[in-house]
């Protein structure tokens, strides 16, 4: 009866075998997924020591080369050049690659390569939370780069602030190693240990102690 009615009035009709509760929860989940905020970013998303790192920067600064180096060291590629970022419930970001160009990379001088075929399934994954953004930049002698790391910088992605690093590139700087270090340092911060802050606290303590000694010294004389 329903079929006839729907056909006559040209209304789409769907049938399912699961129970109403199950079906409704699944539909809600799918709709949330489908309608969440999303944006397409230019950059390469890699998983480094379990941290989702989005490498950004001008064309030909070496994003893909850096990612390739990371893959070779056992880290994983999510997407090269085009990253679709979705804002999930609870304000966390997930990045993935477009179906068509998944696991493909374009390396200047070589061409298009399939990383999954070259290095195996272990070095790719379909999606990953976006934890930090690193911008690769050509080294500019006039620019003052972060030398201590006491102040955390953030970048806004779909209303979520994501830790942000600017990494200057020049011959002789091992970008792959630097990216690994950034990712590890991020993990360390996540665990509650901030190397720069910890050191500064220690330094302040030492200075305070010296000052106290001096006060005592001066009081005696």
């Amino acid at each position: 009866m329903q079929e006839g009615f729907c056909e006559k009035n040209k209304i789409p009709l769907f049938k399912a075998h699961s129970t109403a509760t199950n079906l409704l929860s699944r539909i809600t989940f799918l709709l949330l997924e489908e309608f969440c905020l999303s944006i397409t970013l230019h950059g390469t998303l890699v998983e480094v020591f379990g941290v989702g790192v989005l490498i950004q920067g001008e064309s030909s600064v070496g994003k893909s080369e850096a990612a390739l180096g990371l893959i070779e060291r056992g880290h994983r590629l999510i997407s090269d050049d085009v990253v679709r970022v979705k804002k999930k419930e609870g304000s966390y970001l997930v990045g993935s690659g477009p179906e068509l160009t998944r696991h493909l990379m374009e390396i200047r001088g070589i061409g298009i390569i399939n990383v999954a075929h070259l290095y195996g399934a272990v070095c790719v994954r379909p999606d990953k939370g976006l934890d930090i953004v690193v911008k690769l930049e050509e080294w500019d002698d006039k620019h003052f780069y972060d030398r201590v790391g006491l102040d955390d910088k953030f970048i806004d992605v779909l209303g979520v602030s994501v830790p942000y690093h600017v990494l200057p590139v020049k011959p002789g700087r091992d970008v792959v190693l630097l990216l690994e270090t950034i990712a590890l340092n991020h993990r360390l911060k996540d665990m509650g240990y901030n190397s720069a802050k910890e050191f500064n606290a220690k330094l302040l303590e030492v200075i305070a102690r010296r000052q106290k000694k001096r006060v005592v010294h001066e009081a005696r004389s």
Partner: protein, 90 residues
């Protein structure tokens, strides 16, 4: 300067790897930033992978946005490449 213009993919095979490479090559010496918008997706036209991702077929309309000092010249070159079907015209 900012220019926005619609261009049509005219070659029968659509925007496949060779046209994408041609676009990237033509943009390399240009200074402006170039973006393609197709099916609500906006991508950087300097990236081969991004152009390929669009998988634009013949007759699809692509909105080209160029911003920068040599925008006019860049647009001219780009439109010509699209019109000449990236050298695939017989």
């Amino acid at each position: 300067m900012k220019l926005v213009r619609k261009v049509k993919v005219k070659n029968p095979l659509g925007l496949h790897t060779r046209p994408a490479a041609a676009i990237v090559r033509l943009l390399q010496p240009r200074k402006s930033s170039v973006f393609f918008t197709y099916k609500e997706e906006t991508i950087n036209a300097r990236s081969i992978m991004s152009i390929l991702m669009l998988a634009a077929k013949k007759n699809s309309q692509i909105v080209v946005t160029i911003e920068g000092e040599d925008a006019e010249l860049t647009m001219e070159h780009l439109v010509r490449a699209f019109d000449q079907e990236f050298g695939e015209k017989k």
